[in-house]
Symmetry: C2
Subunit: 191 residues, 2 copies
DNA sequence: AAATATTAAATGGTCATTCAAAAAATATTT
DNA sequence: AAATATTTTTTGAATGACCATTTAATATTT
């Protein structure tokens, strides 16, 4: 059992270091050496665990996507009505441990670079489709068919836009206020 | 006069080539050689005109910002009411010659990289403040004071989010439909 | 001729990745 | 328990590729 543990611990440490380093230097220019220094390891050991820089980036994005997915599933479990489930999608995106400058920043870096990496774009596509499908399922319960797609577009764009602004912000974010604002937007869209 | 002309012609050609090349390869990894090839010139001549790669990127962003600003001023001139002026801001963002995959993609690249470049972040800040102020001016005419800021946030995030999605799209964009959808969002927000 | 524009080639630097060897952890035997 | 063997982990240094920028020389325009 010991064998597995070390690998898992290193993986987590290195991914956390990647998030910090990418936020600090930018996805395009961050170096393996900088990430390694942040993790207190060597660049060579990163390749030992992740194979390559791209492998590390993919693992990091996968880690963030999993966090987001888990938050969403948890919210869904509690929600009883379609409207509450829309709230839940928003609340997951603006959860206390996800809606931080650091993480919004890295999300944007990944979005910007996904089109140029086969492995990143795959993850990106899957996540986007999942969010889209959640929105559509609930909106179909609440709106006439011809209003569903515009409403979905409005909600999903709003969500993306808030993260995008958050990534640029030099203020401390207020997740609670973001959730309240998002609920208001939901209310606007579904009546 | 002749002296100025050649320089202007080259500037435009090189900036157009930059837009194409950055869209194709990504901001972080595009090389001077690729941009030069796209423009049918040499990498050395780009430095002759723009001093450095960062100078070229700044000039390219400035070019796009100017186009956006001009489109907005033009729309403002025609608009008579606060609501029409809100439409005008949206219409500028989704104008036929601005709302293309190529340009949305490059906008996102710039957004993602602005925090790491003094020169880019300056431009970015100025543009964002200008859009914000336009929105606030009009919304103040239309809404009670306490609803103005949430409404601005919703509109600006929606605008950014649409561009962000457009950048990822592999479909052909429909600027006219985007404008219509944006008008609907304005209508939702101001009543 | 003078000024301006262009580029091929050189320069100097950076960086991801590999590799071989050391170190640490774990398993096996005595 | 101790000693030894085996596997896993770590890293310094080497490798090879790539790239922005400079330079010096050439071409073009005025």
């Amino acid at each position: 059992m010991g064998r597995k543990r070390i690998r898992d611990i290193r993986n987590e440490e290195l991914i956390e270091a990647t998030i910090v380093a990418v936020h600090r230097h930018g996805y395009g220019v961050v170096t393996m050496a900088e990430i390694a220094r942040e993790a207190g390891a060597s660049a060579a050991s990163i390749n030992y665990y992740f194979g390559s820089k791209e492998g590390l980036m993919e693992a990091t994005m996968r880690h963030l996507l999993t966090k987001l997915k888990d938050a969403m599933i948890q919210g869904y479990a509690r929600a009883k009505t379609p409207r509450e489930r829309l709230y839940a999608v928003m609340d997951a995106n603006f959860a206390d441990d996800l809606y931080t400058v650091e993480q919004c920043s890295i999300w944007m870096q990944f979005w910007a670079n996904a089109p140029y990496s086969h492995r990143l774009s795959r993850l990106h596509r899957i996540n986007r489709a999942r969010v889209r499908s959640h929105f559509l399922t609930e909106l179909n319960q609440l709106l006439p068919a011809d209003q569903v797609e515009p409403a979905r577009q409005a909600l999903q764009c709003y969500m993306d836009g808030v993260w995008l602004q958050a990534a640029q912000s030099d203020l401390i974010l207020e997740p609670q206020a973001a959730r309240a604002a998002a609920h208001q937007v939901v209310d606007l869209v579904i009546r």
